[in-house]
Subunit: 247 residues, 2 copies
DNA sequence: CGACTCTTTGAGGCTCATCAAATGTAGTGG
DNA sequence: CCACTACATTTGATGAGCCTCAAAGAGTCG
């Protein structure tokens, strides 16, 4: 990671700019946002269900996950977040956390105080819209995951998840030639797609056997994007990767 | 339904007021919003995936659902909306619909132009926050449904869904003594909880046999709320039914 | 009363969970 | 460099939950 103390701010600005055109003033306001950076090992809770946080968390490096547990202790991961995402942006308007957020790989995150974020939003309504939109895209991904988990079988689900990951990582420059790092265990993948780790293992073997993915440690290569999207019934519409400025 | 031409506006105001305290000016602005009311039979699409709507839809009477189809034509319902909800509020900031919305019972809905909604939000930032919060609660429900579908079995899932429905309908005054109307077929319930209609039928029988619900036509009675919440592992936290004003 | 839709029931099979154990792969300290 | 530990992946076997197909009852409505 760059030593630039403003790297978190720049990451956030780049992310918003991929959708909205920001004025110099807006960019400056974002650049001036105080962001407290900390590093985490994997599997560390960042916020917990029931908390009443006074800050939001911006992912800088690595991946985080949003999860909940059933009363029998089964875990469901509802979302994965990559650098540039703000997994608990909702806490700006919902006092109590209704889910927990944890690092799923070693990662770096930045904390932004709610009051600072609110102040910026008050002065720059277009930034309010931009942040609001971020939470709407998150919601859109939840919907797609509901379809995935509710109505597709494990093989398709996994292919779909890998497609989504590739696209989202590509958007932040973390993919080269269909090749990216996925530092997530099979047990965690199981918690994402709602199956068991044993079954994840078998599904991954099937995907490899069908030539849809190649894996080496935590590295994943997609040799044939077209084929994987077909196997995963993947249509990137729901990611809303372009066109944010209101009509 | 009342003949009052401002009924839709009043419904919206009441909904927001259950969370935020609104000033007279804010209320007046909402009362002045033009809303075009129309009636629908059941199973009618209101907006479709891929559409670029220029208006939002406020549910006035009956229920609507948010759904998507897999390429094999299987349907997953991602959300149910009750009077007072705005199922496609997201379209204010996401140009293209990533899901379809349909009536699931005969219903009345009101359409509000995006431009009108935007104008109100510009003048009253607290209303922006209130609408933003609505979309955040929707997202919170998506997360809970992901846990439900991904990690709980059908019996628990159904109990959970009925708990949620009771609470949400109670919030808009549509429940009396644990008794409410649920004009939804078992096939539709199956699309909600991600199973088959045959299995829904068996699960409902089991719930009846266990004394957790009583049904008569589309009428549902919950004789023992406490027992049903245990069976459904239900914790209403995720509905965020109170406390919206920022700290 | 017939046409339609929805609910209910049965039977067989498939997907996937669970349990348990073996193998593989870092990371640590001697 | 090797033994040792801690995890993660892989494999096998068994069974539970649920799907699908098919057909029979029950409401509901013109």
């Amino acid at each position: 990671m760059t030593a630039d103390p403003h790297f978190p701010n720049i990451l956030m600005i780049r992310k918003l700019e991929s959708i909205f055109t920001l004025s110099d003033e807006e960019k400056q306001a974002l650049r001036d946002l105080p962001i407290q950076v900390i590093s985490l090992k994997d599997d560390q809770d960042i916020v917990r269900i029931g908390d009443r946080p006074s800050q939001c968390c911006l992912v800088l490096e690595g991946f985080t996950c949003v999860y909940k547990l059933t009363s029998e202790g089964k875990r469901q991961i509802m979302a994965l977040h990559v650098p540039g995402d703000i997994p608990d942006l909702q806490s700006l308007h919902l006092k109590v956390m209704d889910n927990s957020i944890a690092s799923i790989s070693p990662c770096t995150v930045g904390f932004i105080q709610h009051e600072d974020l609110r102040r910026v939003c008050e002065h720059y309504p277009r930034l309010t819209a931009a942040f609001w939109r971020e939470t709407l895209v998150d919601a859109s991904i939840f919907r797609e995951w509901l379809l995935n988990i509710g109505r597709r079988e494990a093989y398709t689900r996994m292919a779909h998840l890998l497609c989504e990951f590739l696209m989202r990582l590509e958007a932040v420059g973390l993919v080269e030639d269909g090749f990216f790092d996925l530092p997530i265990t099979q047990a965690e993948l199981a918690d994402v797609i709602g199956t068991s780790s044993v079954h994840v293992n078998r599904v991954l073997q099937a995907l490899r056997a069908d030539g849809l993915i190649q894996t080496k440690r935590t590295q994943v290569t997609i040799p044939d994007w077209e084929k994987l999207t077909v196997a995963g019934e993947f249509d990137p519409l729901y990611l809303h990767l372009e066109g944010g400025d209101a009509a």
